[in-house]
């Protein structure tokens, strides 16, 4: 599997990351190198093995339904470039 220049631009756009024309070719190379590395996994024979998410049998950890968090709005917005009354302010987005 490999990506072409169009796919690189598309992925960047979907992630809202600005990529200049000069950056496309080097990024394409880097991504394809990563994909090639991962592709080595294809050599492993997994016939008859169900897809797994963990190599150790573990049950998903669950919590009780109690309120244990929140109540610090000023901390939540602390790093935001712009805020008002503890709202995040962003450039206008309207449908």
């Amino acid at each position: 599997m490999s990506v072409d220049a169009t796919t690189v631009r598309r992925i960047a756009h979907l992630a809202r990351i600005a990529v200049s024309e000069e950056e496309v070719a080097p990024l394409q190379g880097e991504l394809n190198a990563i994909l090639a590395f991962v592709e080595q996994l294809g050599a492993v024979d997994v016939t008859g093995v169900a897809p797994m998410t963990s190599v150790t049998p573990m049950a998903m950890k669950k919590r009780a339904d109690t309120v244990t968090d929140g109540g610090y709005a000023s901390d939540v917005v602390f790093n935001a470039p712009e805020t008002e009354d503890n709202y995040f302010l962003v450039p206008k987005v309207v449908e």
Binding site: L14, T53, K61, D65, T66, A73, F88, L89, V93, E95
Partner: protein, 490 residues
């Protein structure tokens, strides 16, 4: 579903009749104290960003931990929809970019949802009922809220809703009219409220619908559909479908084609319009969330939850019809809300079920509606209404006096039986007293007595006069019989 086409449900076009095909995705907010993957509160109406944890704000390094009650609520809902419960389900990341989605992805379930196929029985106004297939139900996170009207150049983002658990309930395209669609949402809402898994409050956004609409000539394969996003009232769902179906019919009859797209319903203008910004082919790049293990449980867990379920609307309706002799319509009205059904049962217990239903539906519901009250805030308790029904049943008061008594209990409260005594509302069955009143009226109106012999309908006037003279307390049957005898009317 391959039900026969019902000609009554077709929409008339310029050229021929059209069938509208509707499927729905309902987003129902799970009733829980805290969020799906964080310990922040789900309570509505907090100060901006006050019910937000660092998980909901997607701060680096934070990990989601699932709320076990949300899982139980999804399973209960699945059971209420007579659906398959999947013992293993998987959470996936649905990637998209929007300011009120700080993670940059929504944790949802894509390939392996917690609940599979089920069905909902929907009763329609004309007594007909349809079965609507449920395709799936999955758990997912809600997004935050953006306010666009606070400032000319900026949007305000509040993440209080971010991370609250939603159940997305996807129906099959089994609905064939706006009426069916409205009835389906109403029924689904009733089931959710019975189960206690979603409060169904559409004004607060606890229940929202995405409506898929397409049209076709009866018998043809499915047409291209448009999805109307985020419709937030049952009335608007009906209006949006009517408007959208007619828009599509007009385009096709003019020789055009429908392009699959997402649209918004504008209730003010009564139109749907394209959401252009969302057009750019959605590419959600779903993949299993590496922060979460698969959600697994055994049948014993499901059985224990099934054990704790309340009687559901369909079963209750059938029982009301069988045990209390109610019509399907009356039973349907009474079971629409669990509180109404409980109230009715308290009134009907040990009494005539039909009489109790009449009083609850006609007098009580009528009055509650008029005054904008609910069954929970009713000034008349089930015990009080039961006493009124008893007093009529034993012949202590007439039906007419009972309405006056209801009024007194509504406005002043008190024990109906004691009120009948203290206010002298008892029905007069003593024929001597009634006769005396009748004799006085006859003596005063000799002309009317003569006329009545020719025109027996005048009897009604005499009945009215007698009731007036006795303060409405005379037994109507006794009055009628005595008058007929005295006036010589057959």
């Amino acid at each position: 579903m391959t039900a026969a086409v019902n000609p009554k449900k077709l929409i008339k076009g310029g050229l021929h009749d059209w069938e509208v095909v509707i499927g729905m995705e309902i987003h129902a907010q799970v009733t829980s104290r805290s969020k799906l993957f964080s310990g922040a509160s789900t309570e509505f109406g907090a100060e901006p960003n006050d019910h937000v944890s660092l998980v909901d704000a997607a701060m680096p390094g934070m990990l989601p931990v699932i709320n076990e009650e949300c899982v139980a609520q999804a399973v209960r809902t699945g059971l209420g929809l007579k659906a398959q419960i999947n013992h293993r389900s998987v959470f996936d990341r649905k990637n998209y970019f929007y300011p009120d989605l700080p993670q940059g992805y929504q944790i949802s379930q894509f390939k392996d949802p917690i609940v599979g196929e089920g069905e909902v029985l929907v009763d329609l106004v004309d007594g007909e009922s349809i079965t609507v297939g449920i395709e799936r139900l999955h758990l997912e996170q809600d997004a935050g809220k953006s306010l666009h009207d606070q400032n000319p150049t900026q949007s305000f983002v509040d993440l209080n809703r971010s991370g609250v658990a939603l159940m997305e309930i996807v129906s099959r395209p089994d609905l064939r009219s706006s009426e069916e669609a409205r009835a389906y949402v109403t029924k689904l809402r009733t089931i959710l409220r019975y189960l206690g898994t979603c409060d169904g409050d559409m004004e607060k956004g606890s229940l929202r619908a995405d409506v898929n609409v397409s049209v076709r000539k009866p018998g043809d394969p499915l047409g291209t559909r448009c999805e109307i996003k985020n419709v937030n009232s049952i009335r608007f769902i009906g209006q949006a479908i009517e408007v959208e179906a007619r828009r599509q019919i007009a385009i096709i009859e003019d020789g055009g084609t429908i392009s699959q797209e997402t649209r918004l319903f504008d209730p003010g203008k009564g139109e749907t319009r394209s959401m252009r910004s969302k057009e750019e082919a959605h590419d959600y790049r779903y993949f299993p969330d590496p922060d979460l293990l698969p959600l697994e449980f055994d049948q014993a867990y499901v059985d224990a939850l099934a054990e704790g379920l309340p009687e559901l609307p369909d079963a209750k309706k059938a029982r009301f019809i069988a045990d209390y002799g109610l019509s399907p319509y009356d039973a349907g009205v009474l079971i629409a809300e669990r509180a109404s059904a409980d109230y009715y049962e308290a009134v009907a217990q040990g009494r005539d079920g039909k009489a109790a239903a009449n009083w609850v539906i006609n007098e009580l519901f009528g009055r509650l509606n008029k005054e904008g009250k609910t069954i929970e805030t009713s000034p008349v308790s089930a015990d009080q209404l039961g006493a009124v029904v008893d007093l009529i049943g034993e012949g202590t008061i007439s039906g007419k006096i009972a309405k006056d008594l209801f009024e007194i209990v509504w406005t002043e409260g008190g024990d109906p039986r004691a009120l009948v005594e203290s206010r002298g509302l008892k029905q007069v069955t003593d024929t001597g007293a009634i006769e005396a009143a009748i004799d006085a009226i006859i003596a005063k109106n000799p002309d009317k007595v003569t006329q009545a012999k020719e025109k027996p309908t005048l009897l009604g006037w005499f009945v009215g006069q007698t009731m007036k003279a006795t303060g409405g307390k005379a037994n109507p049957a006794a009055v009628n019989a005595l008058l007929k005898a005295k006036l010589g009317i057959e």
